[in-house]
Subunit: 453 residues, 2 copies
Amino acid sequence: MTIYLFILFAFVTASFSQENSNDKIMVKKVFDEVLTNGTSYELLEHLCKKIGHRLSGSENAEKAVFWTKKVMEDYGFDRVFLQEVMVPKWVRGDQEIVKIDGSNEMLSALAIGGSVGTEENGIKADVVMFHNITDLEKADKSDVEGKIVFINGAFNQTYIRTSQAYSETGRQRWQGASVAASLGAVGVIIRSLSSSLDDFPHTGSLGYDEKHKKIPAFALSTIASNKLATKIKMGTVKLFMKLNSKWYDDVKSYNVVGELKGSEKPDEIIVVGGHLDSWDVGEGAHDDGTGCMQSIDVLRTFKALNIKPKRTIRAVMFMNEENGLRGGLKYAELAKENKENHIAAIESDAGGFTPRGFSVDGAADKIEKMQKWVSLFDKNTISYIDAGYGGADISPLNKTQNTVCIGLNPDTQRYFTLHHTNNDVLEQVNKRELLLGTASMASLVYLLDQYGL
Amino acid sequence: MTIYLFILFAFVTASFSQENSNDKIMVKKVFDEVLTNGTSYELLEHLCKKIGHRLSGSENAEKAVFWTKKVMEDYGFDRVFLQEVMVPKWVRGDQEIVKIDGSNEMLSALAIGGSVGTEENGIKADVVMFHNITDLEKADKSDVEGKIVFINGAFNQTYIRTSQAYSETGRQRWQGASVAASLGAVGVIIRSLSSSLDDFPHTGSLGYDEKHKKIPAFALSTIASNKLATKIKMGTVKLFMKLNSKWYDDVKSYNVVGELKGSEKPDEIIVVGGHLDSWDVGEGAHDDGTGCMQSIDVLRTFKALNIKPKRTIRAVMFMNEENGLRGGLKYAELAKENKENHIAAIESDAGGFTPRGFSVDGAADKIEKMQKWVSLFDKNTISYIDAGYGGADISPLNKTQNTVCIGLNPDTQRYFTLHHTNNDVLEQVNKRELLLGTASMASLVYLLDQYGL
């Protein structure tokens, strides 16, 4: 693109109509403040580079708790407090090997989070491949018994939102080990839940069905999966896998909450949050350092613009979304115990990419009310507010007190290339994309605070 | 993000309503085909890695011409042809130095495209800094004469679309040298036209005013600009700059055109295009390899889906957008000469990022007609069709035969971090983002072909 025809470019702004309402002016003020002085990116840089990944129960998770508490105290929020919550503790160990027996070449693999380890000397067994978990469920026990199961389900690329492919294929990670074990398998390997072809394996959590033996589980990169599939098509393949992961007793941890007290209706609470824990790889940048830092920055923005909220606004860093959801459950439990009234909760847990819309889990009339606000946003930020998923951490609030749960929907195209991998690092985050998400959430909090639901 | 609550995720698709029109079905078919079999990315990989950057008049530009011609012939398009056009030839040379006199540290700099070279031994002179070109225009000759001018204008970060900041700040690159020369400066240095703080300098073109002496011109990275500004604030700074760039006689080159002949109204032509030339740094991936490869892929998609267009559809690789627009002008000139009737032209020249909308330079009633098509698209692809800028290469068609000119608007947040830099490489392109742009254009071409304007 060159610079010819400067003037024509000015047309571009026509997409933002000049309706002169106060709300539009306020939304513009919020965006200007965030794009000029927003701290989401610099906070994220600290979280990623000075602390790093933060699996529940780890030392880093503890560091992140006390660091975010201090950040919010230093910003002078009205109240900053911790909510104690017991979290699971799983440690990957230092022996993670998947290779074709007789070959020296390692296949790019990560143990699936929560997997039990192998015997000390590893496992060696023939592999049987399935195109997806449904095929595995239909398999004969005689074809699976004593073998390592490989589930090679790929993302459906025709879904516009990659999150749809993730939820459809996700069952192979979550249930693969249990289904394979029910048929007598000794181990399971899955194709990573990824929208791209590369050599990064994606971890994530699994759930063991207590009825069956717990067997070790790995995820291969999509390139390694293709390689293995090709070998299997050529003849019998024996795999070697080794893992010394371990489960420990639950550990004390915390949700971290920062609050601006409402001036008129302090008992009505609006939450904006993300989860502070991450997987034990990469830096947990997009998942979900971005959501946490954005949430803190939303409250900072209110203070910077000297907006005194009518209602109480909380930034919540939930603990243990990835492998337990204990923090989200604890938050809702305490809210009920303390008779708090949460009118709305916004979660950012789909990456710090450029925002496209909000999806709302709530009553139709409330969604309709919110949809009128779409026109207040530049079309290149929030272009829709529709019925949809809110977020994992806030979903217990929806169940216990019918809170309207709102998810920030960033563009999804890049998220599942790096989600739960060693590539989920600060360098994958674009500062302005991140800030536009912050500003979108801050604007929505402003509107929810002004008008309620 | 974890996998809890699979079912809730399904809500996400609610944003794509199930209106069962044929058009909606066709748009879905187009997206499915492109997301499954689209070749935009693999073609781009060849262009970037086997050919590389392609400044007009260079050997690489010539290679790109004959390779794209062959690609379209191999796809079996009805007609593939070249349009001869004479293009300027500027060569950067191998001596590009900007440093503070007395220091060994080089400042990250690129000559601005088209800049004359310095004397053989370089230039040494005091620097005078201006915050923007308007301040320079108001300056006294006595403050500038004999000096090197440094224009340190930064992007206005409050604009949502970074292209707006680019066009506002862009004058310092395009006119900086002439304005500085008019006040007696011996050289000019500008802050790169960039939305980010990093160490990549951005080149681009300048225009010399024939009334004044041609002086050499450089762009510094934003980090180097900040460094220089700090030094200048501390006291007088003398700079050394050296450049052995050269202008040559015009060179013969070509637009490359692939065509599917219309079955009912072959005389009505719809163009989809990008520019094949790039700057002489990086790989010209986003600027504008993506637009060219997408355009070829649009016609491939029509063939793959066995859609016989009513009107004639052309993929056009324009030559020399970056420093002359000769290809765009030649295309319109030949269209007029051959009495061709171009009803619409779409240009993709704002990067291969995730699509957000189309901007249309045309009559209001035609824009209104097109706006009814927005609902055919998933909201996470095209969320608006609005009045706006079409594109540089197609703009001459708008002038000569009132063609409706349409620009694909991808998300702009990342574009001006890498535009005209060594960082504009394939690795910055996300395959699915690129394909969503291809599918959006193919769908729009389908609708334009079905209904005309």
